[in-house]
Assembly symmetry: C2
Homo-oligomer: 349 residues x 2
DNA sequence: TTGTAGGCGTTATCAC
DNA sequence: GTGATAACGCCTACAA
């Protein structure tokens, strides 16, 4: 029976203050000053054991919780970090968020998540909203912001940004994986299985990762002294629906191919569906490779061969790096490298 | 070139204050008092157009943003709502969160998301953490908290809780869909296709929805004057892995069946994988029905027949209901009913 | 219409 | 070791 907030009814106990409980109430009940309560709360200084006991008892009795707004006002810190995602429903971002959640656990920091929807203007807007809340730090999960813009934001608070290469700074950490390598690993795998006509469902043209993966596709061909057929490269949007549409276009074009490299897992699912619709078997007639290794990829039929991205670990890394910049003592984590996961959507030609 | 935070260097402009910009700085630059600035910020009172212009200009010049902590301290409101999810990576919760995000858009409220991991103790802990931050409202997305516990929490701030039937209150709104109906719809569909030996992969025993769906499965049988074979009911955990394990148990038991009703889509995926592993065709040899209609269910092969839950709309509803309780003028939204979505994992026997 | 003054709850500084 | 006191930045009576 917490004693606070008893307005209409008579106070249930003589100690009950009028409004929400404050340090002063606790101090009065414990027979000490507010400063002493504060000191005990924060471990700022040594206090006599007897007083400590009295204060702790009073805190319990009154169910006292310090007002974070007041503390923030005084300290200039909000114990809140902002997370800029792009699409809160995408498995990519939720996996990263899990990593962040884990990395932030027990740190006292809580995440506020906003979505930028792959739109630089909206992203900047959301970040300003976050900054108006005086967040102590910010994680930017990929996106379309200009590097200079991010550097500018980093003048106001520590930032960790994923998916780009940026000069580190006391206030700015970037984590980056070579997405050319992802495209290269996927394509080389198909080439090594004897495939020579390999289609590619690319991601959005304005998306750096997509561009890099296409470059990796080209590099693997070059290395094998092959020239990819431009008719086999088509555009997707990183979503299932786009993968389905792209595969339909590929099929309708009549250009023959025996394998397809989709720039991410979600488009692989869509492509797979398009093939299924036409009765084209995977991997017997066409092999598929994706990128990401989303949790679902082990449960689609057949299980998807893909290039694993350490998304969870990136989230974990981001959280830890941010805490480090915020002055917390945390052990750093490593981001493992990209890795080809061979499952059952690819077979030797 | 924002003028604030120029500590080490000489001030770039004569207007630059020492620390972060405050109303007082704005007032000084605009040649008015701080209260006038506040009034303009909040539209609290009429002010002369000339002063308004000067203040707005000063705000722009100084890139001023009101300190939310100070405002919160004064007003007793944080413009923050807490969201208790269970697993931030589950498509169920992310879909709901999308709805919440949409419902909160442009309201000025930002969501803080925490996860309870289906553990009543952890859920209560997280909520206390949220409450320590003085959130203005709370959305509880299902979970294992006791009704009384929720009622107790609702004494401190408005709460919307999904997935239960609770007496509404000026501070408590519950939204609930009859999950017996979900199990009933799924099972009746299979029965109507001529299936008589229908297996069921149930959800966790301590999960109300799971229990209700099993009850619906039984009710559909009763209605058809059939008795489900207890050997065909097995336990899952609402995850893909649990669905896979459960289906393997079913198969190993030797009890014959021609269809399976899985208590959610994720377990359907796992069950589908187990069948695939053994070369059992879907729907030719075994039909499958799930519950949820996750976005992915239209893209698995074959596309999953399932009972659609309006998860997004539930999130939207929750956000709107909360805003309403917080005194905002918002138009209410309806939660559509459960609906059987017939795709391609079921066929007539 | 506008300014002055006081306080929201906390912590840091300074005395004792 | 402990207590008074003065901010932190904002908003809202109250006064003018």
């Amino acid at each position: 029976m917490p004693a606070s907030r008893s307005r209409a009814r008579p106070a249930p106990a003589p100690v009950a203050p009028a409004g929400p409980t404050t340090v002063i109430d606790v101090a009065r009940v414990a027979g000490v000053s507010a400063s002493t309560v504060s000191r005990i709360l924060n471990g700022t200084a040594r206090v006599a054991d007897s007083k400590r006991a009295a204060v702790e008892e009073a805190i319990r009795r009154l169910d006292f919780r310090p007002n974070l707004s007041a503390r923030s006002l005084k300290m200039g810190t909000t114990m809140t970090v902002g997370i800029l995602a792009q699409d809160i429903e995408s498995p990519f971002f939720t996996r990263a968020m899990r990593g962040i959640e884990e990395g932030l656990a027990d740190s006292g920091y809580a995440p506020i998540i906003v979505s930028g929807h792959w739109n630089a203007v909206e992203e900047a807007q959301r970040i300003r909203l976050l900054m108006a809340r005086r967040i102590d730090g910010l994680v930017i999960l990929t996106g379309h912001l200009a590097d200079e813009q991010i550097a500018e934001f980093a003048r106001h608070q520590p930032i960790v940004v994923t998916g780009r290469k940026l000069r580190h700074d006391h206030n700015l950490v970037a984590t980056w994986l070579d997405q050319t390598e992802a495209g290269y690993l996927a394509t080389r795998h198909l080439l090594s299985l004897g495939h020579r006509r390999i289609a590619h469902i690319a991601g959005p043209r304005d998306h750096g990762d997509a561009v890099d993966r296409l470059a990796g596709y080209n590099r693997a061909h070059e290395e094998a002294n092959l020239k990819p057929d431009p008719a086999l490269v088509t555009q997707g949007d990183f979503l299932e629906s786009g993968g389905l549409l792209a595969m339909n276009r590929l099929l309708d074009s009549g250009a023959p191919f025996t394998a397809v490299f989709a720039a991410n897992d979600q488009m692989s699912y869509g492509a797979r569906m398009a093939l299924y619709r036409r009765g084209i078997r995977v991997p017997d007639d066409v092999s598929i490779v994706g990128v990401d290794d989303l949790p679902a990829s082990a449960y689609v039929t057949p299980p998807l061969t893909t290039v694993r991205q350490p998304i969870y670990e990136i989230g974990l890394f981001a959280a830890r790096a941010l805490l480090h910049m915020l002055g917390q003592r945390v052990e750093p984590v490593d981001v493992p490298p990209l890795e080809l996961i061979v499952r059952e959507t690819t077979r030797r030609l």
